[in-house]
Amino acid sequence: MQYHTPGNFEDAVSIAAKADGVTRFLAGGTDVLVQLRADIVTPDVLIDIKKIDGVKDIAREGGGWRIGVAVTGAEMSEHSELEAEWPGLVEAMDLIGSTQVQGRATLVGNLCNGSPAADSVPAMFAAGASVSIIGPNGSRKVAVADIPTGPGRTSLEKDEAITAVHIPARGKNGGDAYLRFIPRTEMDIAVVGCGVNLRVDGDTISEARVSLGAVAPTVLLVQAAADAIIGTSLDDAAMDALAAAASAACNPIDDKRGTIKFRTHVAGVLARRAAKIAYDRARASK
């Protein structure tokens, strides 16, 4: 196994392009190293991108944020401005793993691992986040919602790497929330996850994005669920329509973590609860 520590992303992707066998980019390693030790994926080439300038930075970008690929969950949770603007996103990331894992785990790692149950991904979907990508054919910017293509699969081309996450400007009267269902209180993987990001005009929801995790082969952005609450003041009828739309969007599997029936039902429950939190946050914000 080869281990590289390139000083910039151009070198990183060029090493990847020249590499034979299985290549993995390494940031926090909370998936890559675990899979290595569990005999699931044994890379031939490991490219550690933590030595690249700027990868540990959370920086203003326009009215929004640019989050480096090696920024950890703990660093996001300790960033008070980011948390004030995007509490749902920060909480979603903070739900992942233990305190020790929080010191390593990253948004981009969570995204590239391709799990439909990744906690930070529905929150990024709801927030409307995007990522910058570099590869042998140059650079591009893509919505996070266009990255996952199936369990363990993404739309990244061979030898492409993500260089940063972009979170849009929060703007006025907005709020987000993420909730997940696990049978325990900690140290588990979402059986269902739900992100809601919305904006209000007075008491009326003017914009909304609703996402679901762990109920389909990829994280879902559920337009019908958003439509169910846009133009409403999140009254009981809107909540019922939201829950029904969320459940209707589910296409889950029966597995050791939950049943189809359970996931479909709980998606609706979480959508209601997350929408309520996001709504209250939006109304409380300036």
């Binding site: 569990a38 209180t185 140290m187 588990d188």
Partner: protein, 750 residues
């Protein structure tokens, strides 16, 4: 120990809470656990395991593995003893499969190499040709007429004719006439219950370092609850003599019954013999789940009759336990414990030990008893609900007492069930108001406790300190308790006692640390050994003073003349006698060897409040109180720790832990991510009440406490959840999907 001996009640050190002697080592990382042993020239081993639930082993080709650089040896069943019978054969068959892999994870071969990574790679190169056979993993399906047979002829003589060959043992006990009893009842409830297998969940995986020379002399370092048993089993399985294997027990990172079993030590010894090098073998977590013993899964039918004033008129239980691919599921304990808390005129219990394609079950804290309590105490709760009776008053009314003929036969001696129920009733928890969405559950629980073969030795040092050697690995703070006992008996400081878990060459045979026996049996032996030392110390003083030994008493750490008639002499402290012992007769060592048989049974009553989220089926245990009879708590903190530990494991078992098998018979959740033991934030602070009803069979009145604490939780939590959700849950775990399903079915019924 006879019951004619007076029970001590005036204590100075016993009953206090000194720090455990192994505590600093454990919190600083200095303590050496199973995987912390290293030897010069050591090899690392890896085990090749069956990916199939049931398959004939057609051919094993080790040539590619052996050709890998760094690989020193591969062993298969051919490298172990031949001609074993009985339990040794069963153990060997589990340690290394012969012609058939009986469960997913069953060991088929093992490799030793110069590094753990090479060993792991080599294990993948061992080519095994399997012929897959039909499999079964569910207890009811394993008993059905069309079930594949795990092994023909495995049943013993207890099994009535006409049952499936997978039923390998049968139990039938009770007294009175249950049908007449049911006829007297105002309400009879019969229900069916199921529980899934759960793992002991110890944090430290099995690990050992072993060496075996061509002369048949060997050494083993391992984490185990019983190194004398490891010695005996290893000698048989590798075909050498027991005394030629010396076993040292490491510190142990949890066992709960699961480390009473031998899995890897004989494999490491066989590899060592083949390579003439020390071999280290450490299981992964996945191997622990797939190939070591979880508890049995169950299918149970319980029927109980009650009068409208709360008298239980009859109880009947049928308990089917699946114990993996070998006989031994503890169904007789399930049957015998089921109705033990209650004085019943009419009781009948039947047990089935059923084999399936799963790993061989191992003891798990009061093996078999928690499931019995789940079924019986759920039915009692339902009877109380339907008859409008108080659950504690009903249990008090029917409680077993001294002289009660137990459901399993003998008459109880002095027991403390009534006292635990009274203490539970008086506890503020029992009368605290519940919040909306919450329910309260009560359950009693019973465990036999055990004595067992025990040998200890207590040696004086020249400076007046003492070294106690015991042969029972410390799995619950026993070094602290033993130190307290020695300090109490000799009248010296707790800190002056060093307690060591001695290796198998140092002491006579000691049974495993199981059956809640250590504080009882090793404690009793330690008292006797200390009294032996006192006798010898007194004899030295008598010789010095020129008086009779009988004229010397031992008090406050000193020999003293028994009275004025004995003569006028200055008290002679232990340290002074010790200093001169080389000149006055030689080293002073006390010892005691016996099989104490007076282990007093223990009862507990638990109170649980649970809150159920009816939209998601999620349960939160919001308040928990354990009340248990300890006889006499030597070290109350560690007694409370046992109470809390049993409750914590019970919460996991009740709510989320389960072995999940796929259609292919493979275990689906062999990591802690998906095998959901409770994390700290899942648990409330668990309150404890120590009841002390002295055990007549122990000099201080001690009863074992380690196991009874896991008997009531499944039922107490099920009762709390059922009362909170408004629907009876009869299957464990009470996972969120299962609770939602039950709520939905109830809603459909209207």
């Amino acid at each position: 120990m006879g019951i004619n001996e007076k029970i001590t009640s005036d204590f100075k050190v016993v009953g206090t809470r000194p720090n455990r002697p192994d505590g600093v080592d454990k919190v600083t990382g200095r303590a050496k656990f199973g995987a912390d042993a290293y030897a010069p020239g050591m090899l690392h081993a890896a085990i090749v395991r069956s990916p199939h639930a049931h398959a004939r082993i057609v051919k094993i080709d080790t040539s590619k593995a052996e050709a890998l650089k760094g690989v020193k040896a591969v062993v298969t069943r051919a490298d172990f003893a031949e001609g074993l019978t009985g339990e040794n054969w069963n153990i060997l068959e589990n340690v290394m499969a012969s012609d058939t892999a009986l469960y997913d994870g069953h060991a088929v071969a093992a490799v030793a190499a110069t590094s753990a990574l090479v060993a792991r790679d080599a294990a993948k190169l061992v080519e095994i040709e399997y012929e897959q056979l039909p499999h079964v993993t569910d207890v009811d399906k394993a008993m059905a007429p069309d079930a594949p047979v795990i092994r023909e002829g495995a049943a013993d003589k207890s099994v009535p004719e006409g049952l499936h060959p997978n039923v390998v043992r049968y139990h039938d006990s009770g007294h009175g006439d249950v049908e007449a009893g049911f006829a007297e009842a105002d309400l009879v409830i019969e229900d069916h219950f199921k529980t899934e297998a759960t793992h002991q969940g110890y944090i430290e995986p099995h690990a050992c370092l072993a060496q075996l020379g061509p002369d048949g002399k060997g050494e083993v370092w391992c984490c185990t609850q019983g190194h004398f048993n490891v010695q005996k089993v290893c000698a048989a399985l590798v075909g050498t003599e027991t005394s030629q294997i010396r076993v040292t027990a490491s510190e142990i990172g949890g066992g709960f019954g699961g480390k009473t079993v031998v899995f890897i030590e004989p494999v490491a010894l066989a590899l060592s013999r083949k390579t003439n090098r020390p071999v280290k073998l450490v299981m992964s977590r996945s191997e622990v789940f797939r190939a070591t013993g979880p508890t049995a899964s169950t299918s149970m039918d319980v029927k109980i009759g009650m009068t409208k004033d709360g008298k239980i008129t009859a109880g009947k239980g049928v308990f089917r336990l699946q114990g993996g691919a070998f006989p031994g599921a503890p169904m007789e304990f399930t049957a015998m414990c089921a109705f033990a808390p209650y004085a019943l005129e009419n009781v009948h219990q039947i047990g089935y030990d059923v084999m399936s394609n799963r790993p061989k079950q191992a003891a798990y804290r009061a093996p078999g008893s928690p499931m019995a309590a789940f079924a019986v105490e759920s039915v009692i709760d339902e009877l109380c609900n339907q008859l409008g009776l108080d659950p504690i008053e009903v249990r008090l009314k029917n409680a077993s007492k001294q002289g009660t003929k137990a459901s399993f036969g003998p008459k109880f001696d002095r027991i403390g069930l009534v006292e635990t129920l009274e203490a539970a009733m008086a506890h503020p928890h029992f009368s605290a108001p519940l919040q909306p969405g919450q329910g309260r559950g009560i359950s009693c629980g019973f465990w036999f406790n055990h004595g067992g073969e025990t040998a200890v030795s207590l040696a004086l040092s020249e400076d007046g300190t003492v070294a106690l050697s015991v042969g029972t690995p410390d799995i619950g703070g026993s070094r602290a308790s033993m130190g307290q006992i020695v300090a109490e008996e000799l009248g010296i400081a707790y800190e002056s006692v060093r307690t060591t878990i001695a290796d198998t060459a140092t002491l006579g045979y000691n049974e495993i640390s199981h059956g809640s026996r250590v504080t009882y049996a090793t404690g009793l032996a330690t008292i006797k050994a200390a009294r032996d030392v006192v006798k010898k110390l007194s004899a030295r003083a008598a010789a010095k003073w020129g008086i009779d030994e009988e004229a010397v008493i031992w008090e406050d750490g000193c020999a003293k003349p028994a009275g004025p008639n004995a003569g006028e002499f200055e008290p002679l402290p232990l340290a002074k006698i010790a200093r001169s012992m080389g000149r006055t007769g030689g080293p002073i060592v006390g010892h005691y060897e016996a099989t104490p048989e007076g282990a007093g049974v223990s009862f507990a009553t638990h109170i649980v409040d649970a809150e159920v989220d009816k939209e998601t089926g999620q349960t939160k245990v919001v308040r928990y109180t354990v009340v248990q009879d300890a006889g006499k708590a030597i070290h109350p903190t560690y007694v409370e720790g046992q109470f809390q530990g049993g409750a914590a494991q019970g919460i996991g078992w009740a709510l989320n832990e389960e072995y999940i098998y796929g259609e292919d018979g493979r275990l689906q959740n062999s990591i802690f991510l998906d095998y959901r033991i409770p994390v700290a934030s899942d648990l409330p602070m668990i309150d404890t009440v120590i009841v002390e009803v002295p055990n007549p069979g122990h000099p201080y009145g001690v009863r074992g406490v380690g196991e009874t604490s896991i008997c009531p939780p499944l039922a107490a939590i099920a009762n709390a959840v059922s009362n909170a959700a408004g629907v009876r849950l009869r299957e464990l775990p009470m996972s969120p999907p299962r609770i939602l399903e039950a709520l939905e079915q109830q809603a459909a019924k209207g």
